[in-house]
Symmetry: C2
Subunit: 232 residues, 2 copies
């Protein structure tokens, strides 16, 4: 049943691109594919990312990737887990629980800002990968160690998560960063018709991101701390 596949070709076989394939060479592997994919997303953005472009970058055909990942979704999972590996939950017991939460929050934000192009994907997907559930479990563990009930831990985990996700999303896909509307409202229109926004506009610049993030985080942590004192 072997078809005359070769005979069908118009051009000569084209010498296959060399790859070492040995230990540590340029051969493919889950790790290398994921790392190159992340670099590609970082560089060109999510919208440009495709298996074919990734193949080019890896020096292989697109379909070779499927030998290592059953689908693009599986590859994206690997990128999510790469992200999470960078946002390790602070497990050091020398800090009290609120300081550990603060550090975890900063780690999360740093992770997002390190991969701003990928974060919007991260944000709209459930965190039920291996590294994802481990991450969640770690944060809840901090809250439980602090003496919060399971219900309280779940609630405060969520409220912090809401804030962290929204903040990271705004800094990576929001004002002046993410995909714009097809016909953005011109600045002149804002200046004349939306005085409040125009007046506050300077404070929407990236220079104010850090301070905004910090004060909001402190409001939340203080609110959680207050409820803790009331309980005990």
């Amino acid at each position: 049943m072997i078809k005359k596949a070769k005979a069908r070709r118009k051009a000569p076989p084209a010498p296959r691109k060399r790859r070492a394939a040995g230990h540590g060479g340029r051969g493919l592997s889950r790790e290398r594919i994921a790392a190159v994919a992340m670099a590609l997303v970082d560089r060109d953005g999510l919208a440009q990312f495709s298996t074919r472009r990734l193949g080019e970058e890896l020096g292989c055909e697109a379909m070779s990737i499927y030998h290592h990942f059953p689908s693009k979704a599986h590859l994206m999972d690997a990128l999510v887990d790469l992200m999470l590996a960078e946002a390790q939950v602070a497990m050091e017991p020398q800090w009290d629980w609120s300081e550990r939460l603060r550090r975890a929050a900063h780690g999360f934000r740093a992770m997002a800002l390190k991969h701003p192009a990928f974060f919007p994907f991260f944000a709209v997907h459930r965190l039920n990968t291996a590294a994802g559930v481990a991450y969640i479990d770690g944060i809840i563990g901090i809250l439980r160690d602090a003496g919060f009930s399971n219900r309280e831990a779940a609630v405060y985990f969520r409220e912090l998560g809401y804030y962290l996700t929204g903040a990271a999303l705004d800094e990576t896909a929001g004002y002046a960063r993410g995909p714009s509307s097809a016909e953005p409202v011109p600045d002149e229109t804002i200046a004349t018709n939306f005085k409040h926004l125009a007046a506050a506009a300077p404070y929407f610049q990236p220079a104010h991101f850090d301070a905004t993030f910090e004060t909001g985080l402190e409001i939340l942590l203080a609110g959680i701390e207050r409820s803790n004192q009331r309980q005990d």
Copy 2:
């Protein structure tokens, strides 16, 4: 230069689907296209939404949509503005500023929950459509009326927005709703390896969404209120 276009056809011209085209008929219009598009996204989800599917639903060819919208991005803008039209900022002066913010927050959340399939798109796009800047301007206006400086208004607008976006995103694309990982961690693994998460899992169910949202919102509003008293 008129080609023999007709002669090229294999099948007879196919009687054109009737559309009234008159006032109020089944003819196309920006409004009808946007409304049907939103209904389609609500029903089948963002991933299934395409111009061809929309054309089917409208009873026209995909390309006819382009007579009313220059690109799909423009159409998506219209959907964003449809969403915002449902989340009107509470302008009623009978409420004090914190109550107006609370009502705006509830309006935002209700909007997201009314179109859970579309919200993830909404969340990762800049809000620089016509309705978008008007919305932002309205919220900032509330804060300015309350006596906050431009800087404070920008900061608190953002912090509230972070929370609202994150909350809505989690309720529409998070736990048990949004796109899952390709190979989700099975429940048994969570039960055995991630005790904290397993114990808190019941409180992650939708039944707790309302209460979680409310308490977090109150923490933020109280924090903002406290800073206001300190200032004045």
